[in-house]
C-alpha cells in the first residue's frame, strides 16, 4: 500500500501523525494544555519561523544553507523600527516593502559570494551571520527600539484578527504566512522556474549539461531567503515592539530545523514547503510546550530541538533508503518478468 503513495506525501502524513502525538502527549501531562490561547500563541510564533523556513527551503533545495537569516531578521526589525520612529507617518505598504527589500539586499550579498564566486555557503553565511549582527550592534549604538516609539498600527497588526471562531483567533500575520507558504508551494511545484531549484540540487552537473543557469538559480534562492527573512523581520517588530541587538538570534537553527524536520533533503533536490510549515509548527509546539512542562528544565529546550533535527535526519535517511531499495527491487523483478516475456 505504501508503495503507491509518493514519498513526499508519506512524509507529510508521518509528520502530521507525529504532530498529533505530541499534542496528545502534552495534553496528558500538562493540565489545561489544550486551549485557544495555545493556538493563538503558537500560530503567531510559527508564522514568523515558517516564513524564514520557506526561504531557507529554497536555499537548501539548491544544496546550500543560509545561516545568516537570524541576523537579517534582527537587522530588518531594528532598521525598519528606527525608520518608523523617525518618520511615523510612513505608509504601511512602503514599510513592508522596505523590510522585504532590505532583507533581499542582505540575501543578495550572500548570493553574490556563493553563486558568483563559488564559495561554500556554510562559510559565507556563517561570516555574514556575524557581520550583519555586528552592523546592527554598531549602528544601534546599544540602544533599543521600544513599542512606544512606533506608530500604533505596527503593534496593532500583530494583534489584528482576520477571523475569530470561539476564542480561536486567526491573526492576519498567520494569514500572510500561510499565503507565503501556498505561493511558494505553487511556485515550486507548478512553475518551470520553480523546478530549476530542484534540478540544481538534484544534480548540478546534469543541470549544467541541460543548459540551466545554476549560478543564477542559487543567487535567487539567497535573495528570496533574505527577502522572506526581511518580511519576517517586520512581523517580528510588529509582534514584539521592543527590539534589542539580540533580536532574531537563533532563527538560523529553527529555520534549518523546520526545513530538515519538514522533509527537505539537506543534500538538496527534494522537499516540499507544506512539510516545512508542519516542521516549523512541530518545532514551535514542542518548544512552547516544554516551557510549561515542570518536569523539564527550560534549558533543555535547545537540546530537544537539536535532538529533533537529528531524529528527523536519521528517520528520513533510513526511510528513503528503504523505500528506494524496495522500489528498485520491485522494478528489477518487473524488469526480469518483462525480459522473459520478450524472450
Amino acid at each position: 500500500m505504501f508503495d503507491r503513495i509518493p514519498a513526499q506525501t508519506l512524509r507529510i502524513l508521518i509528520l502530521l501523525a507525529v504532530f498529533a502525538a505530541v499534542v496528545l502527549f502534552f495534553s496528558a501531562v500538562i493540565e489545561g494544555y489544550l486551549n485557544a490561547r495555545l493556538f493563538n500563541r503558537i500560530s503567531t510564533s510559527v508564522a514568523i519561523v515558517a516564513m524564514i523556513a520557506v526561504g531557507q527551503a529554497f536555499v537548501v533545495l539548491t544544496r546550500n544553507i543560509d545561516l545568516s537569516v537570524g541576523s537579517v531578521v534582527g537587522c530588518v526589525a531594528y532598521f525598519v523600527g528606527g525608520l518608523l520612529a523617525a518618520w511615523p507617518g510612513m505608509p504601511p505598504v512602503l514599510v513592508v516593502a522596505l523590510a522585504v527589500l532590505i532583507g533581499a539586499g542582505f540575501g543578495a550579498v550572500n548570493g553574490l559570494f556563493v553563486a558568483r564566486f563559488g564559495l561554500p555557503s556554510i562559510i559565507v553565511t556563517l561570516a555574514t551571520l556575524a557581520i550583519f549582527r555586528s552592523v546592527l550592534v554598531e549602528s544601534s549604538d546599544g540602544s533599543s527600539i521600544t513599542t512606544d516609539r512606533l506608530p500604533a498600527w505596527v503593534p496593532g497588526f500583530a494583534q489584528a484578527n482576520a477571523a475569530e471562531i470561539g476564542g480561536l483567533q486567526l491573526r492576519w500575520m498567520v494569514v500572510v504566512a500561510l499565503a507565503v507558504v501556498i505561493l511558494a508551494h505553487v511556485f515550486l511545484t507548478r512553475f518551470r522556474a520553480g523546478r530549476q531549484f530542484f534540478a540544481i540540487g538534484s544534480n548540478p552537473d546534469a543541470a549544467k549539461f541541460a543548459g540551466i543557469d545554476g549560478a543564477r538559480t542559487v543567487f535567487w534562492a539567497f535573495v528570496l531567503s533574505g527577502a522572506l527573512a526581511g518580511l519576517a523581520g517586520f512581523m517580528f517588530l510588529s509582534r514584539f515592539g521592543n527590539i534589542t541587538v539580540v533580536a532574531g538570534l537563533g532563527f538560523e537553527l529553527k529555520s534549518v530545523g523546520a526545513v530538515v524536520v519538514g522533509g527537505v533533503n539537506i543534500f538538496g533536490g527534494s522537499g516540499n514547503v507544506i512539510g516545512v510549515l508542519i516542521g516549523a509548527a512541530l518545532i514551535d509546539l514542542i518548544d512552547t510546550s516544554l516551557v510549561r512542562w515542570e518536569l523539564v528544565s527550560e534549558f533543555w529546550r535547545e537540546a530537544v530541538l537539536g535532538l529533533l533535527i537529528l531524529a528527523a535526519v536519521v528517520a528520513d535517511t533510513l526511510l528513503s533508503r528503504r523505500l528506494m531499495a524496495r522500489r528498485r527491487r520491485m522494478a528489477a523483478r518487473q524488469g526480469t518478468v518483462g525480459a522473459e516475456k520478450r524472450a
Partner: protein, 496 residues
C-alpha cells in the same frame, strides 16, 4: 548528400600549453550515423564538448546550416538542435522522468500542466520502444532506462544533431540492440547521429561514415563500407617513429613476485590472471573503460576483489585494505595526482614520508622532522626533483615533478611490487624520459612493476610484457620486443 547540418571548420582548442584539438574539420549531414573513433586522448571528448557549448574553440568556426554560430553554453547548443548523451547518464535523480525530459525546454508555458507533460513524455518514450512510467523518479531507473530518458530529452528538443558518447559501454547486449534501433530510427527521421565508441564491431554494424582522430587531429573520414577494421586501427595508432623511446633490455629475474589467479570483482572485471616477476616491467594496456585501474585498486585493497587468488612470492595473501597492501610491500601510484595522490597543500618532504611515517615517529607520536628532511633530500637528488625547497607545498611543483614526488613517496616505503597508473600523463617529454629511466632502475633492483598506461608508445618502449584488457577481461598478451601498436590496438578494440 545535401548541406551539412553541422560543420566544424578548422577548430582548435588548447588548455594552457596542451593542444587538445588542432585544426579539426568535420561535417555531419542530416540522416547519417557518423562514427568517431580514436585512441584515448585523441581529442574526441574535447571535440564533443566544443560542439555542445561546454568548451569554446580557441580558433576555427562551428557552422549550423552553413551559418557560423557561437555556443556560449549547452543551452545555446540545444536551442540550435545539438544535444549529447553520455556513458554515465546525466539525469536528475530526484525529479520525475517527465521532468527530466522537459527540464531544459524554454518554449513551454511557465506554468506546468503535469498531466499534459506526463502524457507527452509517455508518447516520446513510447517512440523509443521502451516502457517507463513518466511519473517515476529518475533515480530509481536502471542505467539503460536513464539513458533512454536522456535520448527522450534530446528528441523532445527536436534534436538535429545527436551525439552519443560511448553510450553502449555500460549496457547489456539486449539494451545495445535497442539503442541501435533508436539510433537508426533517428537517422531515418533525418537526424545526424555522431556515434563515439571503442567497439569497432559496433561501428561497422551501425555507421554510414566513420572519422578517425589521432593526437587532436582529424585524420580521415570515409564511408564505413569502404574501410576495414585493420585500416581504421592503422589510422588510429599510426605515428611517425620519431617520437619513440628506445627499448632497453629486460631485467626480469626468475622468481615470480606477484601472481594473480582468477581475480574478479562483480561489475568491474572477471577472471583476471597474470604474473609479474621480480625486476620485470609488465604493462597493462587497453582503452578507457577496460577496467585496468579497477584491477590495480583491487591489488591495493581500495576496492578489494570478491573472487580469485593473490600470491606474493608464492604465499597466498588477503588484501582487504590499502594498509594490508602496504604491509605486504605493494605500492600504488594513482593516476589521479590531485585527488588520490598528493596532499598538495602539504610540504614536499611530508608527502614523501607519509606512507612510511612509522619510521619517522618517535615516542608519543613525535615526528622526527630532521630525518624526514634528510630522506626527502636524498630522494630529491636521486629522482632529480626540481624543487627550490623541500618544505614548499607539493602543489607548487610542475606536473612532472609532482609525479616524481609521488614515486618518491611510494619508493620510500621500499615496495616489492610497484603499481603505477598512467605515470606520465600530462607531463613533458623530458620528465617522461626520467620517469621511464627511474622505473627501469627500480626493476634493476628487483622490484616487480605493473604499469597501467594508455600511451601506446610508452607501453611499447617500457614493457617486458604487454597485457591487454578489454571490457573487464584479459584479452591478450604480447612479449615487449614483438608487440606493435596495431596488434595491441586490435586486441583492445576487439577486432576480429
Amino acid at each position: 548528400m545535401t548541406e551539412p547540418v553541422l560543420e566544424m571548420r578548422g577548430v582548435s582548442k588548447s588548455f594552457g600549453a596542451t593542444e587538445a584539438l588542432r585544426d579539426v574539420s568535420l561535417r555531419l549531414f542530416p540522416g547519417e550515423i557518423h562514427a568517431l573513433v580514436g585512441e584515448n586522448g585523441a581529442g574526441k571528448s574535447t571535440l564533443i564538448k566544443a560542439m555542445t557549448g561546454i568548451h569554446q574553440p580557441s580558433a576555427g568556426a562551428i557552422l549550423i546550416d552553413g551559418c557560423e554560430v557561437q555556443f556560449r553554453d549547452t543551452g545555446a547548443a540545444q536551442r540550435a538542435g545539438v544535444a549529447a548523451i553520455y556513458q554515465e547518464p546525466m539525469v536528475f535523480p530526484d525529479l520525475s522522468v517527465a521532468e527530466n525530459i522537459f527540464i531544459s525546454h524554454r518554449d513551454r508555458p511557465r506554468l506546468i500542466d503535469w498531466k499534459a507533460m506526463n502524457d507527452e513524455a509517455e508518447a516520446i518514450i513510447a517512440r523509443l520502444g521502451v516502457a517507463i512510467d513518466p511519473r517515476r523518479q529518475a533515480g530509481e531507473l536502471t542505467l539503460a532506462e536513464q539513458q533512454s530518458v536522456e535520448i527522450a530529452r534530446a528528441i523532445s528538443l527536436k534534436v538535429r544533431v545527436l551525439i552519443m558518447d560511448e553510450p553502449s559501454a555500460s549496457l547489456s547486449d539486449h539494451e545495445v540492440q535497442r539503442l541501435f534501433g533508436i539510433a537508426r530510427a533517428l537517422r531515418d527521421e533525418g537526424v545526424a547521429v555522431l556515434y563515439i565508441s571503442h567497439r569497432l564491431e559496433e561501428i561497422f554494424a551501425l555507421s554510414d561514415r566513420v572519422s578517425v582522430m589521432r593526437d587532436g587531429r582529424h585524420i580521415s573520414t570515409r564511408p564505413t563500407a569502404e574501410t576495414t577494421q585493420a585500416g581504421l586501427i592503422a589510422e588510429m595508432v599510426g605515428r611517425d617513429m620519431a617520437g619513440r623511446f628506445a627499448r632497453m633490455p629486460g631485467q626480469a629475474r626468475d622468481e615470480v613476485t606477484l601472481r594473480v589467479t582468477g581475480l574478479s570483482r562483480e561489475g568491474a572485471f572477471r577472471d583476471v590472471s597474470f604474473a609479474v616477476r621480480a625486476g620485470e616491467i609488465v604493462c597493462l594496456s587497453g582503452l578507457v573503460g577496460a577496467r585496468r585501474t579497477d584491477v590495480a585498486l583491487a591489488l591495493f585493497g581500495i576496492a578489494p576483489a570478491d573472487a580469485g587468488r593473490i600470491e606474493l612470492a608464492g604465499q597466498a595473501v588477503a588484501i582487504a585494505s590499502p594498509k594490508d597492501a602496504m604491509r605486504l610491500g605493494i605500492a600504488y601510484v594513482s593516476e589521479d595526482r590531485r585527488r588520490m595522490g598528493l596532499a598538495l597543500g602539504e610540504s614536499i618532504a611530508a608527502n614523501i614520508t607519509l606512507p612510511a611515517l612509522d619510521r619517522y615517529t618517535r615516542a608519543f607520536g613525535w615526528i622526527d622532522r630532521l630525518r624526514e628532511l634528510a630522506d626527502a633530500a636524498d630522494f630529491r637528488r636521486k629522482l632529480n626533483i626540481k624543487a627550490a625547497s623541500l618544505t614548499a607545498p607539493a602543489g607548487t611543483l610542475s606536473g612532472g615533478n609532482q609525479q616524481k614526488v609521488m614515486l618518491a613517496k611510494w619508493l620510500n616505503m621500499g615496495p616489492k611490487v610497484l603499481i603505477v597508473d598512467e605515470p606520465t600523463r600530462g607531463i613533458d617529454i623530458g620528465a617522461k624520459a626520467e620517469v621511464h629511466a627511474l622505473l627501469r632502475a627500480l626493476a634493476g633492483q628487483g622490484v616487480a612493476i605493473l604499469v597501467i598506461s594508455s600511451d601506446l608508445p610508452e607501453v611499447l618502449s617500457l614493457a617486458d610484457r604487454v597485457l591487454v584488457m578489454r571490457e573487464g577481461r584479459l584479452a591478450g598478451e604480447f612479449p615487449g620486443e614483438t608487440a606493435t601498436d596495431e596488434a595491441v590496438m586490435r586486441v583492445a578494440v576487439g577486432a576480429v
